[in-house]
C-alpha cells in the first residue's frame, strides 16, 4: 500500500517551481500529513533549470530529500537531461507528467507511465506563464496526490494574498479540469496503472 508520495517539479526558473512546492507542502501540512519540501538554490532559479521536491506521507519522513520521485513533473526540455538517469532506469517506477507543447519526451527515451498535458499554454491563456505550476498542481491533485483541493486552494491564497491569488487559483482549477478530462482515459490501457495507484492511495487518506 502506497502511503508516501515523492514529487519533483522541474522547469525553468520563473515558472514558479519553488512556490508551487511550498504550496503543495503547506496543503499537506493543513491536511495533517507529514511533509518536507526542498528546492534548487542557486543562479538556476533565475531562468535556468529549477526544481522543487516535496514528500507527502502519513508516516514519519526519515530522509527529507528525494532520491527517486514517484511523480516527476517536467515543464521544459532541459529537465530531461537532468533526469535521464531516473527516466532511463528500468527499476524506477516514476510517473512522468510533462508539458505536451513545450517539453515532449525525447523519442525512444521514455517508455514508461507518462502523461502529457497543456500546462504552460493553459496558464498563459488564463493568466501568465507564472501560473504554469498552479495548473500542474491542479493536475497532480486531480489525478494522483491525495490532497483535498480546498487545502491546496487555501495554501495558494496564503502564498499569493490579493489579486494574484485569484488568478493562481483559476490556474489551479483549470488544472483540475484537465485532470477531469483525463478521467475517462484512465480506464483505457495506458492509464490502468495510474488508476490503480489512484484507487490504492485514496482510501488511505480520505
Amino acid at each position: 500500500m502506497k502511503n508516501t508520495w515523492r514529487i519533483i517539479l522541474s522547469g525553468s526558473g520563473g515558472q514558479g517551481m519553488g512556490v508551487a512546492g511550498k504550496i503543495l507542502a503547506e496543503a499537506a501540512f493543513l491536511q495533517g500529513l507529514n511533509t518536507t519540501q526542498s528546492q534548487t538554490y542557486g543562479a538556476g532559479v533565475r531562468g535556468d533549470l529549477s526544481q522543487s521536491g516535496i514528500i507527502i506521507s502519513n508516516e514519519d519522513i526519515l530522509f527529507p530529500l528525494i532520491e527517486k520521485p514517484d511523480l516527476l513533473v517536467i515543464l521544459n526540455n532541459k529537465s530531461y537531461g537532468h533526469f535521464a538517469p531516473i527516466l532511463n532506469s528500468n527499476g524506477a517506477r516514476t510517473i512522468l507528467i510533462y508539458d505536451q507543447d513545450h517539453a515532449p519526451p525525447p523519442k525512444g527515451k521514455v517508455n514508461r507511465l507518462s502523461y502529457g498535458f497543456t500546462v504552460v499554454n493553459k496558464a498563459r491563456e488564463i493568466y501568465s506563464e507564472k501560473g504554469a505550476c498552479m495548473v500542474a498542481l491542479g493536475i497532480l491533485t486531480g489525478l494522483w496526490i491525495p490532497l483535498d483541493k480546498t487545502n491546496v486552494s487555501q495554501a495558494i491564497q496564503e502564498a499569493f494574498p490579493g489579486k494574484t491569488g485569484l488568478q493562481n487559483i483559476k490556474c489551479f482549477e483549470e488544472g483540475l479540469k484537465l485532470a477531469e478530462k483525463k478521467h475517462p482515459l484512465r480506464t483505457s490501457k495506458p492509464f490502468v496503472k495510474g488508476r490503480n495507484i489512484f484507487i490504492f492511495c485514496f482510501p488511505l487518506y480520505l
Binding site: T35, T36, Y41, L62, F63, P64, L65, E67
Partner: protein, 377 residues
C-alpha cells in the same frame, strides 16, 4: 503554547532565538545563512530588539560580544568564509567569557567554495579556527525541529557556561522545509544568567566561581566589570604571571569539559547489540537513519548513533555505545573529520570505515545502505 508550523531550517533558527530571549542580532548576509539575517531584520525590531547589518563578520561578532556584555542575549549567523573572519572574536568571547551564539550554516569550501551548495566540512574549523587553548560548545541539528530546539539549547548553554556556542547547520537543512513544533517562551526552560549579589566595593568579576564559571556583572551594573582579551586576574586586570595564565586557561577548558553530561547527548537508534553501527550527524544522519531502518527491516543487525553535541566530542558516550560493534561506519560529507575523533577516543582504526562524499551533494540513504550491506557481507 505550542504552535505547529512549516518552516525552513533558517527560519526555525531565527524564531528559536527570539523565543529563547535573544534581543540583539548583528550580522553580515552570506549564502546560505542570509535568510536568518533577513528574518531577524523583521523579528528583532518587532520584539523590542536590535538588528544591525554590520560592515563585515569581524564587526558582527564584536557587536554581539558588546551587546552580551551589556546583558542582552545576542547572536549572529554566517557561513564558512564569514566564520573565518569571526575566528578572532570567538577567541575573545571565550577568553572574556561572554555568552553568545553563532550559527554557522556550512557551505561547500574551502574559501568561497560553492556558495549555494552543501558540505559538512567545518567540523574542525568551528573547534580549532580560533587560536589559543580553550573549549567551546558546538551543536549539530539534523532536522528543522532540531534547528529550533538546539538553537534554544545553544542560548541556554552559552548563558550557563559563559562561552560562545556554535550551531553547526548546513545548506541543505537551511533551505529544507519541515513541520516544527514551536514551543513559546512560557513553555521553554530558559537559563537565566547569574548575577553578583555581594558588596560592590572590592567586586572581582572573575573572583566568584560557580562550577568553574565566573558570576559576572553586566556593563552598566553597580558591580564594575573589567574585560580584556589579555590574560587577566580575578579583578579583570591583565597579568603576565605564569600561574595566573595556567589557572585561567585550564579553567576555560575545565568549565565545559568537566560538565559534558549537561550537553545534548547523542541519540541511538536501532539495535543496541548491533554488529555494525553507523555514526553520523546533521543531514547525513537522516540518510543514515533511513538506511539503518531499511537494513534492519531486511534482517540486518545495525544501529545508528547521531551526534548532537560535536564539541566537546562526547568520547565517553561514543566509545561506550560503539564498544560492542565489529564495524563502525562514519557518514559525513567531508574527508573524515569526525572519524578522526573516533580514533582519538580509542576505537581501533581498522574497525572504522567512512562514507565521505565531497561533491557538494547530500549523502543519500542508498549510498549508506549499499556500504552497510558491503560491510555486513
Amino acid at each position: 503554547m505550542t504552535i505547529k508550523k512549516l518552516l525552513t531550517g533558517n527560519e526555525a533558527c531565527a524564531y528559536a532565538a527570539v523565543n529563547a530571549g535573544a534581543r540583539f542580532f548583528a550580522g553580515y548576509p552570506i549564502t546560505p545563512a542570509t535568510e536568518i539575517v533577513e528574518l531577524c531584520s523583521k523579528l528583532m525590531p518587532s520584539n523590542n530588539g536590535v538588528f544591525i547589518q554590520m560592515e563585515d563578520e569581524i564587526a558582527s561578532l564584536a557587536a554581539v560580544i558588546g551587546a552580551s556584555l551589556g546583558g542582552t542575549k545576542a547572536f549572529t549567523a554566517t557561513s564558512g568564509p564569514g566564520f573565518a573572519l569571526m575566528s578572532e572574536n570567538i577567541g575573545l568571547a571565550a577568553m572574556v567569557e561572554v555568552p553568545c551564539v553563532i550559527i554557522n550554516v556550512q557551505r561547500y569550501g574551502p574559501s568561497t567554495g560553492i556558495a549555494t551548495k552543501f558540505s559538512q566540512s567545518d567540523v574542525m574549523a568551528v573547534r580549532w579556527g580560533s587560536p589559543g587553548d580553550h573549549s567551546l560548545i558546538v551543536l549539530a541539528p539534523s532536522s528543522v525541529q532540531d534547528c529550533y530546539d538546539l538553537t534554544v539549547e545553544a542560548f541556554n548553554l552559552s548563558e550557563r557556561f559563559r562561552t560562545p556556542v556554535i550551531l553547526l547547520s548546513d545548506a541543505a537543512l537551511a533551505h529544507l522545509r519541515e513541520k516544527v513544533e514551536i514551543r513559546e517562551p512560557g513553555e521553554l526552560n530558559l537559563y537565566q544568567r547569574k548575577k553578583p549579589s555581594g558588596p560592590v566595593d572590592g567586586y572581582l568579576p572573575y573572583g566568584s566561581l560557580h562550577n568553574d564559571v565566573p558570576v559576572m556583572s553586566n556593563f552598566g551594573d553597580k558591580h564594575i566589570l573589567r574585560v580584556t582579551g589579555l590574560v587577566h586576574q580575578a579583578s579583570g586586570y591583565s597579568s603576565d604571571n605564569p600561574r595566573v595564565a595556567e589557572e585561567l586557561v585550564q579553567r576555560l577548558a575545565r568549565k565545559i569539559d568537566n560538565y559534558q553530561e549537561e550537553l545534548p547527548a547523542p541519540f541511538f537508534y536501532g539495535r543496541q547489540s548491533a554488529d555494525l553501527i553507523v555514526v553520523s550527524f546533521g543531514i547525513s544522519a537522516r540518510a543514515s537513519l533511513e538506511a539503518v531502518n531499511t537494513a534492519n527491516n531486511e534482517g540486518f543487525k545495525t544501529g545508528m548513533l547521531e551526534l548532537r553535541t560535536i564539541w566537546p566530542f562526547p568520547s565517553k558516550k561514543v566509545k561506550e555505545l560503539c564498544s560492542g560493534a565489529k564495524k563502525i561506519l562514519v557518514v559525513e560529507a567531508n574527508r573524515g573529520q569526525v572519524r578522526e575523533q573516533l580514533i582519538s577516543c580509542g576505537i581501533p582504526p581498522e574497525k572504522l570505515r567512512g562514507i565521505n562524499k565531497q561533491n557538494a551533494e547530500v549523502i543519500t540513504p542508498s549510498e549508506v545502505l549499499s556500504a552497510l550491506k558491503e560491510e555486513n557481507s
